[in-house]
Amino acid sequence: MIELDGLTKRFGNKVAVDHLSFQVRPGMVTGFLGPNGAGKSTTMRMMLDLDNPTSGSVRIDGKHYRELSEPLKHIGALLDAKSMHGGRSAYDNLLCLAQSNRIPESRVPEVLDTVGLTAVAKKKSKSFSLGMGQRLGIAAALLGDPEILMFDEPVNGLDPEGIHWIRNLMKTLAAEGRTIFVSSHLMSEMALTAEHLIVIGQGRLLADTSMADFIHQNSRSYVRMRSPQQERLRDVLHEAGIIAVESGSGVLEIDGSTSEQLGELAAQHQIVLHELSSQRASLEEAFMQMTADSVEYHAHADHAGWPPPPAGPQWGEQWNQQHDSFTSGTSGPGKGA
């Protein structure tokens, strides 16, 4: 359990973290989401007592970090891929960390095996790729077999196999009852791993919610319909009191009705359909709208309109498929053609 209470960090006049209060609970993966520059890394550094808060506090299992004797046995953290001495071997880098917290040396080969670095254990860590550096950092976090694990942007620099591996690792660790706190600026990544979500923007708390609620509240769902008898379809919908919006190239978008209702309605009137699909606006889009006002670095001055969601399967859809409760009969565009 990690508890933040009014955590604030100022750099000169700039407020990096602004009165953050939330809890990270055990037994699940908690996602920490925010655009670049939102203050995620600063918050995590303050959790580890690396940066001093301007005000407020962080408690790890009720204690300040500095009060933990042998902190690696309580909390393991991956902050940065580059957090080891490059002139030292992977094994020796882990050994000196283990010794400082009286962790038996036998843990070093164990964690190297867990992250798949056994073959390069004696190699100097400066020869490691970014992905290998991330794995070494994860090995260091796992060294003390801690109850709490923190990962700052863990998938950065990993190849698809590595990303898959770390997602499963986090889920496994959470299933063992550990507290997992993982930051990302990608909603899509969070949707796949996190059960609980904390969103910040410009250092302020924007959301503290379960992933299911976030998806439920933030993603607009609608039904796409396409028909060669479009005029008739519109009339039928109109008679039924259903508002359809034409979104170009003969596609109708309907809010507030399910695809089942609409499909049956069309069948009753013997209208041929080329497409009938329930759609969900992307979580990424929902996240961007939520944080739009607080994005630190805009690519251009004019950001009135976000680009439309990309075609094809939407972010979060995979999550929805895993958690069937939200969707029935989801399909990608073009299925009925």
């Binding site: 550094r45 580890l48 007592d49 690396l50 940066d51 001093n52 970090y65 500095r66 933990l68 004797s69 042998e70 902190p71 690696l72 953290a77 902050l79 940065d80 580059k82 957090s83 080891m84 001495h85 490059g86 002139g87 030292r88 071997s89 020796d92 880098n93 050994l95 000196c96 960390l97 010794q99 400082s100 917290n101 009286r102 260091a140």
Partner: protein, 259 residues
């Protein structure tokens, strides 16, 4: 609280598992011994050409430590790298997450590295003394002569303290480039030049190296140099005060600043 023996073990592992430790300390030893030997051999052959005043205050023990002017630079590099590679590699965040008590972390590191540099310094000063005396022929002195043993021990302590001073400075500056860029020219040029400039020399004699190296003089005002307002132990005390100041400064920076 972190267990201090555990942190000391960890810091010892850090030091012995990087190659810079080996090459800087071997350089300190080899450069000091080689340069001292060359100067002793030269002086032995040129003794008769020296001015009478220098002949009268000839200090064979001091001469056998003359290579420390260069050898100490390797000790500076050792001291700087021990601390600053934590910062340049990003290891500092990992280290402080493991040992959040910053005082324990810093002073364990400096204790381990300091003891190692004192041991190497003493080995260097004994080796360079005996090598130098062997090359000085008739002008040699003996380890049993008055104050000579003090000078030999003092030379080793001097080298160790210079390394520890550098660790303190590097903890304050947190950068290899900056620390070396300040310390190397200071010890090699600025201090040497200012100590020869009239007016400036009254200040320069309180610099760490100028004051500390007095411990290696056996003959007062050796080689016809100006007498200092402090004795050999007073000089070493001034160096020790510089070391303490650098360590306090380093500790305060580490304690207050974000890692």
């Amino acid at each position: 609280m972190a267990s201090v023996p555990a942190v000391l073990t960890s810091e010892w592992t850090k030091i012995r598992t990087v190659s810079s430790t080996t090459w800087t300390l071997i350089s300190a030893f080899a450069v000091t011994a080689a340069m001292s030997a060359a100067l002793c051999a030269l002086m032995n052959s040129q003794f008769d050409e020296l001015p009478a005043a220098e002949q009268a205050t000839f200090d064979p023990a001091l001469l056998s430590f003359s290579g420390m002017v260069l050898g100490q630079l390797a000790m500076v590099v050792f001291g700087v790298l021990v601390v600053s590679t934590e910062y340049s590699s990003g290891m500092i965040r990992t280290s402080l997450a493991a040992v959040p008590q910053r005082g324990s972390f810093l002073f364990s590191k400096i204790l381990v590295a300091g003891v190692l540099s004192l041991v190497v310094g003493l080995a260097t000063s004994f080796a360079t003394f005996f090598l130098g005396q062997a090359l000085l022929g008739d002008h040699r002195t003996d380890i049993g002569a008055e104050n000579v043993l003090r000078a030999v021990f003092g030379g080793g302590i001097y080298m160790g303290l210079i390394a520890i001073f550098s660790m303190g400075v590097a903890t304050m500056l947190r950068s290899s480039m900056l620390s070396l860029g300040i310390l190397m020219p200071f010890f090699f040029l600025v201090s040497q030049i200012l100590s020869a400039v009239p007016g400036a020399k009254n200040v320069a004699r309180y610099f760490p190296d100028q004051a500390g190296s007095k411990i290696m003089q056996v003959v007062p005002a050796a080689m016809n140099s100006e007498p200092a307002p402090y004795g050999p132990w007073g000089g070493l005390g001034i160096l020790a005060a510089w070391v303490v100041a650098a360590l306090i400064g380093g500790y305060l920076v580490l304690k207050k600043r974000d890692a």
